[in-house]
């Protein structure tokens, strides 16, 4: 009985510790995704109007793509780029990660806010062009040393195409203005 009395508090502590270990990564990913705000306006999409389900899909997948891109460039890993990107966008992102691995640099994108407007949706619905006015906090680190820290506003021209189970970013090109 004495042993049981000692055991119970330790057990409770272990359970709490295990719960924390399990919850923290989950909270982390939620926080990472929750830190990317995206507003999508499809009123100007032409020649085809974007259907409601498609709009929701594009919004969801665009937000997810930026979350993944931030993870890939922060931790210098290729895995997050596999699903949400295709074509040229995937190529240069992978190349960036590869070069960062060699140079020891990393990018940190936080407090992302994207105001996205659909400007073209093809008649067959197999490509959509978006204009994204993206505001985020950009840090560039050389190892642990912060070499650049700035709030930026960048304009992106984006092409998205439907993949097997999601919309993917095929082209992501920054421009001075639209």
């Amino acid at each position: 009985m004495k042993r049981l009395t000692k055991f119970v508090p330790r057990f409770h502590f272990s359970l709490f510790f295990a719960a924390v270990l399990w919850l923290v990564p989950a909270l982390n990913s939620y926080a990472a995704d929750a830190a990317v705000e995206v507003q999508l306006d499809v009123k100007k999409a032409a020649p085809r109007a974007i259907e409601e389900l498609t709009e929701r899909g594009i919004l969801r997948d665009y937000r997810f793509a930026w979350t993944c891109m931030a993870q890939a460039l922060q931790f210098n890993t290729f895995d997050p780029l596999e699903g949400p990107f295709s074509g040229e966008a995937k190529r240069w992102l992978r190349q960036t990660v590869s070069r960062q691995q060699q140079s020891g640099l990393s990018h940190r994108y936080t407090d992302q806010n994207h105001r996205v407007e659909a400007v073209f949706y093809s008649p067959e619905g197999d490509v959509v062009e978006l204009h994204d006015t993206a505001q985020y906090h950009l840090q560039i680190l050389d190892g642990e040393k912060n070499i650049h820290d700035e709030n930026v506003v960048v304009h992106y021209v984006v092409l998205m195409t439907p993949g097997a189970d999601r919309w993917t970013i095929r082209q992501l090109q920054a421009v001075p203005q639209f």
Partner: protein, 288 residues
């Protein structure tokens, strides 16, 4: 005297600070084209670490302040937003954009791959010009679209790109066969093929004759309303209703004609259908 000395010391300190603050600086080009070499001028003295961050590039190397830092064509092949950073005791940065070069290829997507003849707004195409490094060319350019069937031109239109895209939509031709769809921009040409196929059967007619083993039924050559023969493999359903019951055979068209052998020995009514199109009915007398 002491006061002058203090003033002097403060001024020297300020000068030293100013000098230190001006120790490194960099000037980036106003704009540059993808794949073109350029350079970034630096000021100051001593050594510094130069960083270049941008799409597809993450460069770090030691530079001598006061000299130009060369950016190679490979560094700047992807259009987008670049940051140049120079760090010695502190870091200074400057951003610039690389824009796409002149068009070197056309991505051309055409739908559908097969289209029934004589359908309005059935064929559409979307073209995106890219430069030699696959950057989107956003400056307006004229793209010519053409549709050619055999030797005839069915459609021709020049469309100016907006936001880097040009598109068209038009009707399919009247004759079955390959339709060549061409998008051209200056001396760049991209071709796609669309197969025009016969539409639904029109005037589906059958004939039948009694044989030793039953009734042999066959269609006349099956055409659509534009006169195109339906492709081989298209299913035609024959239904024979007689005293023993009903017989149905789904027979594929071969060389324009579908045939079936029905077993019925009594007086039989035979009808035909293909898809949702019904044909004529015939009556065949009983076997003598």
């Amino acid at each position: 005297m002491a006061r002058r000395g203090r003033i002097c010391a403060v001024m020297c300190l300020a000068a030293a600070c100013a000098s230190a603050c001006r120790a490194q600086d960099l000037r980036v080009p106003d704009s540059t084209v993808a794949g073109e070499e350029t350079s970034i001028s630096t000021t100051g003295s001593g050594k510094a670490t130069f960083y270049l961050a941008g799409p597809g590039v993450s460069r770090k190397n030691e530079v001598a302040l006061g000299e130009e830092v060369r950016l190679t064509a490979q560094d700047l092949r992807d259009a987008g937003y670049y940051l140049a950073i120079l760090c010695s005791e502190t870091c200074r940065s400057a951003s610039f954009y690389v824009r796409a070069g002149k068009p070197a290829s056309l991505s051309f997507i055409v739908h559908p791959s097969r289209v029934p003849v004589a359908q309005n707004e059935a064929v559409n195409g979307v073209a995106f010009p890219f430069d030699q490094y696959r950057n989107m060319v956003l400056a307006p350019v004229n793209v010519n679209f053409q549709l050619n069937a055999k030797d005839a031109s069915l459609f021709s239109r020049a469309v100016r790109t907006q936001n880097g895209v040009a598109w068209f939509r038009t009707a399919s031709g009247k004759s079955a066969g390959a339709l060549q769809v061409v998008a051209s921009l200056d001396d760049l040409t991209t071709r796609r093929a669309v197969q025009q196929v016969a539409s639904d059967p029109c005037n589906l007619r059958i004939t039948g004759q009694r044989t030793k083993t039953g009734i042999l039924v066959q269609t006349e050559p099956v055409h659509d309303c534009s006169g195109n023969v339906l492709p081989d493999g298209t299913i035609v359903t024959f239904t024979a209703t007689g005293p023993e019951g009903r017989d149905t055979v789904d027979a594929p068209i071969k060389q324009g004609i579908a045939r079936a052998q029905m077993d019925s020995s009594g007086a039989t009514t035979i009808s035909v259908a293909s898809g949702v199109v019904m044909g004529n009915e015939i009556r065949v007398g009983a076997q003598p």
